[in-house]
């Protein structure tokens, strides 16, 4: 485990996570200042950002002082100079998940945040172009949510026998 950068907001919960040098569990307020501190500390690249819907595991084990919520945004930062990885898991909320955008720090998160919005309905405050990216613009619902009705749209195969 590596220490937090000195400029990080005080009191961010950290823990050991698998295959990463540090895991952080910031609150929504600490999230952007924490990422910003990491960026100043030499983490040049935001490698990955994705959402997770923990609908079936609302009471999953978490480090102390972290209140798990349904939606989680997972950010993986990479430092090329120090050869280190950091994973940041921010609890985005239960009903209307909203987090601040990382676009101003890492412009490369633009498409990833759009993907998280498209598939999970997580809103990103300050994102310049929060539109759907993989699904059609007029699609209803967010397909990777656990309560999304799979099979809602009937599929008609050409050669299939008709309904009896």
């Amino acid at each position: 485990m590596i220490p937090l950068p000195l400029t990080a907001p005080p009191g961010v919960v950290t823990a050991d996570v698998l295959a990463s040098d540090l895991g952080c569990f910031p609150t929504l307020e600490e999230y952007v200042p924490l990422v910003s501190a990491f960026k100043d500390d030499g983490f040049e690249m935001c490698v990955d950002l994705c959402g997770v819907d923990y609908l079936e595991h609302l009471d999953r084990p978490m480090p102390d002082f972290v209140i798990p919520t349904r939606f989680e945004i997972v950010v993986n930062l990479l430092s090329l100079s120090k050869k280190q990885r950091v994973r940041i898991r921010v609890q985005a909320g239960n009903n209307d998940p909203t987090v601040d955008t990382l676009f101003d720090l890492y412009p490369g998160t633009e498409a990833m945040e759009r993907e998280a919005f498209d598939l999970y309905g997580v809103l990103f405050n300050g994102h310049p172009d929060l539109t759907r990216i993989l699904m059609p613009e007029d699609w209803e619902g967010h397909p990777l949510r656990k309560d999304y009705a799979v099979g809602k749209i009937p599929v008609q195969f050409k050669e299939a026998p008709g309904p009896r």
């Binding site: 996570v17 698998l18 295959a19 990463s20 040049e44 690249m45 935001c46 490698v47 990955d48 994705c50 997770v52 819907d53 079936e56 595991h57 999953r60 997972v74 993986n76 990479l78 090329l80 050869k83 990885r85 994973r87 676009f103 890492y106 412009p107 490369g108 998160t109 633009e110 498409a111 990833m112 993907e115 598939l119 310049p128 172009d129 539109t131 759907r132 990216i133 993989l134 699904m135 059609p136 613009e137 007029d138 397909p143 990777l144 799979v150």
Partner: protein
């Protein structure tokens, strides 16, 4: 549906409405604010923040001076179903917006209903030009969660297959890139050489593409008898022929004219956009996960990380061509150092028993039955494991909840992220350069849309 009696010229508006992706597409100047214009041309990437130099952002440009056209989603040069909306001023590209999702098949959702054993068949279809990389990234994530050791032989087989796949993938790139530039003979040569690799894959795994060969715990089958000779022939042939490509392309004046200095990108821009792989290395950043954060046994083989200087199309071409040679070098070392032993973990909870054991052992039968009906259980946890695919960092984020199926599987696809560099690279170039830009970014749409 539009009335077929109305001639096409009279229903332009209708056509536009039918193909519109709404806010996902590129909007006309008059309805786009200056911040958005600046963003679309990559102004946010400059260190001084968002600069709004009129010449740079051309926000005072009137809409009747420019034209927004669609390239794709079914254009031969878009390498799949990529739709690019280009704003053109005559021959020059002002703004570009990739509209993706035409190949979205919900593979991450599908991954949640497949067991860990079946998961490989799903992920292998993402980057269909280098399936081994996908399987490797996925299998390594599962193995980290399971906390199991993979036998040495499996590690070296994986490494050899991954490098052969890198060769095949770069050959496809060389072929299609040649095609895009009008060097159609390269198309034939590239696919001819790739066939050698695919034939070996077929001999080993039974399939040419979408192999599902690398699986959690090891690989699906041992290498076939006499594989050393097969692989040596592949190495010799391809290595020799890379020098023929040199003659055909590298020194060719037309090819050079269209590649050198076209669509440069700086290291700062590439890092800010999260771009990895040959695109990042072309700017001079020596970042290759095989060297920087070694996985498998890459720290035991000798190879060079190829870096460029100018970040232009030609550097990206040169990097890929030379990476073929480096991969051949790694494969040769794999042949020499290939250890003997098991090709998959002998943990009965993960690996199915050999066919002969099923006939004589009740326990083996039970394990076999459990593995192929329910699958193995993976302890709860989450992991992000990354490997270097031919296109850049391929990461797999897995969330396990203790059951036999992943709770969440997310693949960090290098092409998806690299695609964000396209508008920046396109800016100010001509339409004919646009073709080479798409090609040099090397997007695989199966992976972009997943």
């Amino acid at each position: 549906m539009s009335d077929p009696t109305i001639r096409v010229a009279e229903r332009v508006e209708l056509l536009a409405a039918e193909t519109s992706e709404g806010a996902q597409g590129l909007q006309a100047h008059r309805v786009t604010d200056t911040d958005e214009l600046g963003r679309e041309v990559g102004a946010v990437l400059r260190t001084s923040g968002l600069t709004l130099d009129p010449n740079d952002v051309d926000f005072d440009r009137r809409d009747d001076e420019t034209m927004i056209i669609n390239m794709g989603p079914a254009h031969p040069s878009t390498h799949g179903v990529l739709r690019l909306m280009l704003e053109l001023d005559g021959e020059f590209v002002l703004r570009t917006k990739p509209v993706i999702g035409y190949l979205h098949t919900g593979m991450e959702k599908t991954g949640e209903v497949l067991s860990y054993v079946q998961g490989g068949t799903n992920v292998t279809r993402m980057d269909y030009v280098s399936p081994i990389s996908n399987e490797l990234g996925y299998s390594m994530a599962v193995e980290k969660l399971l906390n199991i050791e993979v036998p040495d032989r499996a590690i070296w087989i994986r490494m050899m297959m991954a490098e052969l796949n890198r060769v095949a993938s770069h050959l496809v790139w060389l072929a299609t890139n040649g095609m895009d530039l009008g060097a159609t003979s390269m198309m034939i040569y590239g696919f001819r050489e790739r066939e050698l690799v695919l034939a070996f894959f077929e001999k080993t795994a039974g399939l040419r593409m979408n192999l599902n060969y690398v699986r959690p715990g090891g690989v699906a089958a041992d290498l076939p008898d006499g594989w050393e000779d097969d692989v040596l022939v592949i190495c010799d042939t391809i290595y020799e022929r890379t020098f023929e490509y040199d003659e055909l392309l590298t020194g060719q004046p037309i090819f050079r004219g269209r590649m050198i200095g076209v669509a440069p990108i700086t290291a700062e821009e590439a890092l800010a956009l999260g771009v990895t792989g040959p695109l990042l290395r072309s700017t001079g950043v020596p970042w290759d996960l095989r060297r920087s954060m070694p996985y498998l046994a890459y720290d035991e083989v000798d190879f060079d990380v190829i870096v460029g200087t100018f970040g232009d199309n030609f550097d990206r071409y040169a990097i890929r061509l030379n990476e073929i040679r480096e991969s051949v070098r790694i494969v040769r070392q794999c042949i020499e150092k290939m250890p003997s032993g098991d090709y998959r973990s002998q943990d009965p909870k993960v690996t199915p028993p050999p066919r002969a054991r099923i006939d004589e052992s009740m326990e083996a039968l039970i394990h076999h039955f459990k593995l192929f009906t329910e699958g193995f259980h993976v302890p709860a946890g989450e992991v992000y494991s990354a490997i270097e695919s031919p296109r850049g960092e391929l990461g797999c984020y897995l969330v396990a909840d203790g059951g036999p199926k992943p709770y969440r599987i997310h693949v960090r696809a290098p092409s998806f992220v690299n695609m964000q560099a396209v508008p920046l690279l396109m800016r100010g170039g001509s339409v004919s350069d646009a073709i080479t830009v798409i090609s040099s970014v090397d997007p695989i749409m199966g992976e972009v849309d997943r």
